[in-house]
Amino acid sequence: MSPADGREATAPATPAPTTPAPTTPAPRAAASRRRLLLLAPFAAAAAAGAGFYAMLRGLGTGGYDPKGVPSALIGQAAPDFTLPPLEGADRPGLAAADLRGQGRPVLVNFFASWCVPCLIEHPQLTRLAREGVPLFGIAYKDKPADSLAFLRRHGTPYIRLGVDQPGRVAIDWGLYGVPETYLIDRQGIIRWRWAGPLTEDTLTQELQPLLRRYA
């Protein structure tokens, strides 16, 4: 007697089986395969759930940004530029040559007084400046008077400050919004770009290891 027949015998008597009993040589293997197939949708749903959870977590911590775009300038020399100083800010203007010759990696931060995330990241910039990281600022598409008011109110963390009111230098950097922060190594090569506000986590998890690496 085949196993299938045995099962048939113990099953409650039904008027007529709607599905005929399997007669293939390995019905048990086929049945277990079918049961596995039944689990497949659950497995797919669980995988999707895990994926979505990871995405949401990343969105919360800033580790995942669906609109983020990698910079095309990573590994390339910083573009050449010369920007005038901000009148009244008591800082010299900024040119490409200033980025080299600091003897350590430097940061270039694009900001604007009209940009709320710039306000959010400002404490982190202040902290970097206090730690002695050479920080250069570029005021992007901002009225000089507004930039000045912003810096007077929140402090000027930059050692040099250029004004890019037309936003043309920013395009040479591949900027697509403010704030954006670039790390330039001692040879003047762009090593890292952060689009969006610098957070405490960004500083400790991303920037500081890089600053040590390129020091």
Partner: protein, 173 residues
């Protein structure tokens, strides 16, 4: 409640009325699209042939801010700047490829609405072929299995045959 306007209550046959409504809806849909396109005459080049070239280049370039529009369609500040750069370079006599290269060097592949074919984008470009191949393979596999496997499910087991005999004999329930 206000009575419906006379024009709607008028003698226009229903089909014509429906047509008019459809046209009005289409016009409404088209309006925002027309607004979003470049309409500022100050932005345009004086030479219509050059302007047309600049537009064609601009339609191939992604607005990095809105990300799903070309710079020609976008109202974002950055898109306007990039349009201006495209027009300056076209007016200066640069070729289409040179203008595209200029922005590609700064913004990377993402700025191109038609991504270049290279190892990183093989999967992207190959996906239609891969999907078609997988689908065809599945259809062929299913058809082959149907053709080769005997209709085992249609044959009765010994127990079923016994029960069928019982039913035929009039003893079954």
């Amino acid at each position: 409640m206000m009575p419906p306007p006379a024009a709607l209550r008028g003698a226009a046959p229903p089909l014509l009325r429906a047509g008019r409504c459809g046209l009005a809806a289409l016009a409404l849909l088209a309006a925002p699209m027309a607004l979003a396109a470049v309409t500022d005459p100050a932005e345009m080049l004086r030479d219509p042939a050059q302007e047309e070239r600049a537009r064609e280049i601009g339609r191939e370039l992604r607005c990095m801010v809105c990300q799903n529009q070309s710079i020609e369609d976008s109202d974002a500040d950055l898109a306007r700047d990039l349009r201006r750069i495209v027009r300056e370079q076209v007016a200066a006599g640069r070729s289409d490829a040179e203008v595209m290269d200029y922005l590609h060097a700064r913004y990377g592949d993402f700025v191109l609405l038609r991504p270049p074919v290279k190892p990183e984008t093989w999967l992207l470009w190959g996906m239609p072929v891969i999907a078609l191949g997988l689908g065809t393979g599945m259809i062929l596999a299913i058809r082959r299995r149907r053709a080769t496997a005997p209709d085992a499910a249609l044959e009765l087991s010994a127990a079923e045959r016994a029960r069928l005999r019982a039913i035929e004999d009039g003893k079954g329930r």
